[in-house]
């Protein structure tokens, strides 16, 4: 099947109410409505989800892992943002 002129969609599935939608994969479709139906047929054949999001892959703006060193650099030298940085005596350590 020729998929060249079909849009690529990323599929996100919410497994249960209360949980975040989680990325499960992608598929080609003519439009969003068709993508939803395909996603239902491809990714939720065994009641894996209660809600599906489809997003056009080209609409996703992603950070590059190759740049992660400089991208995340500002938080690398801030260990004091972590609770474990603060040493408290045993008697009061349950906060």
């Amino acid at each position: 099947m020729a998929t060249d002129n079909l849009e690529l969609y990323e599929v996100f599935v919410r497994a249960r109410r209360g949980l975040d939608h989680k990325h499960v994969g992608s598929l080609h479709a003519q439009d969003a409505e068709q993508a939803l139906e395909y996603a239902r047929d491809c990714y939720t054949r065994r009641s894996e989800g209660v809600s599906i999001w489809v997003v056009r892959s080209r609409d996703i703006c992603a950070s590059q892992e190759d740049d992660s060193e400089s991208f995340y650099d500002p938080s690398d030298d801030k260990p004091y943002r972590h609770a474990t940085y603060y040493q408290l005596p045993e008697a009061v350590n349950n906060m």
């Binding site: 919410r14 109410r17 209360g18 975040d20 809600s51 801030k78 004091y80 943002r81 972590h82 609770a83 940085y85 603060y86 040493q87 408290l88 005596p89 008697a91 009061v92 906060m95």
Partner: protein
């Protein structure tokens, strides 16, 4: 066949979360908008009393810690505004309601931060009380609110621990430092208890909120938890407990405590606290001074859109 309302209650009773596109009673929606946006306003206004000490922190380490904490509060405000917006309201309207006084924020932030020890007392007691409340709210029935609470609780532990660590340094320091710690404890203990809201019998929104599982535990139950957990923490610091009527009740398995000054509570809520006017004025000023950034973004977007339309027409 179930009515939408029956189906809604079935989900609530089955401990299922309500998600943005589900049918929900209008009063449930309004109740959530009020509570989550009030929570968001509190995070943002809460940056002011602590921000007051960033330039005067006694060491670079304390300054970096405080800066990080205040930055977190801004982030928490964002999570909560975003959760509120899933209910179909605009953020600009929420902010306008706060600035006009129509929407409230936690009245604890209307107290001034007079000394450096207040920064310790806020982290320890104010964030401590907030955590007790927020841990409970992780189980709230509205999905986006619940998920925001889970994220916030993960980050909040650092806030309380840095505050308590600061209190240890002062309470175990010179007599003057210890006195400063005691004074901060005395001033912030009672307002921290008031953060849980009026007694259950007097609480305007409680009953319905409990039925809908927006709130999972009552004001008084949460307050009791905080009172109990704080006693050994005060003892460890070697400070005097501000509540002279505090007494262990073996039968209940809890501490009995003295009565809160509710007149003070309502006075501050109704706008007569030390800093009410200052907090809102500052927020309005910062908001107005940032208007040019928002205007520039709108202008840029309009230009980009015009360009795209032009290209499309030329093609």
């Amino acid at each position: 066949m179930m009515t939408p309302e029956q189906n809604f209650m079935r989900k609530i009773e089955a401990e299922e979360k309500i998600e943005p596109k589900d049918w929900m009673p209008e009063a449930y929606r309004q109740n959530l908008i009020r509570q989550i946006s009030q929570h968001a306003h509190s995070e943002v206004i809460g940056m002011q009393p602590e921000g007051n000490w960033i330039t005067r922190a006694p060491s670079l380490r304390r300054k970096a810690v405080l800066l990080s904490k205040v930055q977190d509060e801004g982030g928490h405000g964002l999570y909560l505004y975003s959760a509120t917006e899933t209910l179909g309201v605009k953020r600009a309207d929420l902010i306008a309601a706060m600035q006009s006084g129509e929407a409230k924020y936690a009245s604890i932030f209307n107290y001034p931060t007079q000394t450096w020890a207040d920064i310790g007392a806020i982290g320890w007691l104010v964030d401590g009380a907030a955590i007790v409340n927020q841990v409970s709210l992780q189980r709230t029935s509205y999905g986006p609110y619940s998920r925001a609470m889970i994220r916030i609780c993960k980050e909040e532990s650092f806030h309380q621990r840095q505050g308590y660590e600061l209190m240890i340094a002062l309470a175990h320091g010179s007599p003057a430092q210890k006195a400063m710690a005691q004074d901060a404890l005395n001033r912030f203990y009672w307002p921290a208890l008031m953060m849980f809201g009026p007694h259950d019998a007097e609480s305007a929104h409680s009953a319905k909120s409990m039925t809908w599982k927006i709130k999972r535990e009552t004001n008084d139950d949460l307050r009791q938890k905080f009172i109990d957990q704080t006693v050994p923490q005060i003892e460890f610091l070697g400070l005097e407990h501000p509540d002279k009527d505090l007494k262990w009740n073996a039968e209940r398995g809890h501490y009995d405590s003295g009565e809160i000054d509710w007149q003070e509570f309502y006075n501050v809520i109704n706008g007569n606290g030390h800093c009410n006017r200052q907090r809102v004025e500052h927020h309005i000023r910062a908001h107005e001074e940032g208007a040019w950034v928002r205007d520039a973004m709108t202008a840029y977007n309009a230009k980009q859109q015009a360009k795209t339309t032009e290209q499309r027409q030329a093609a």
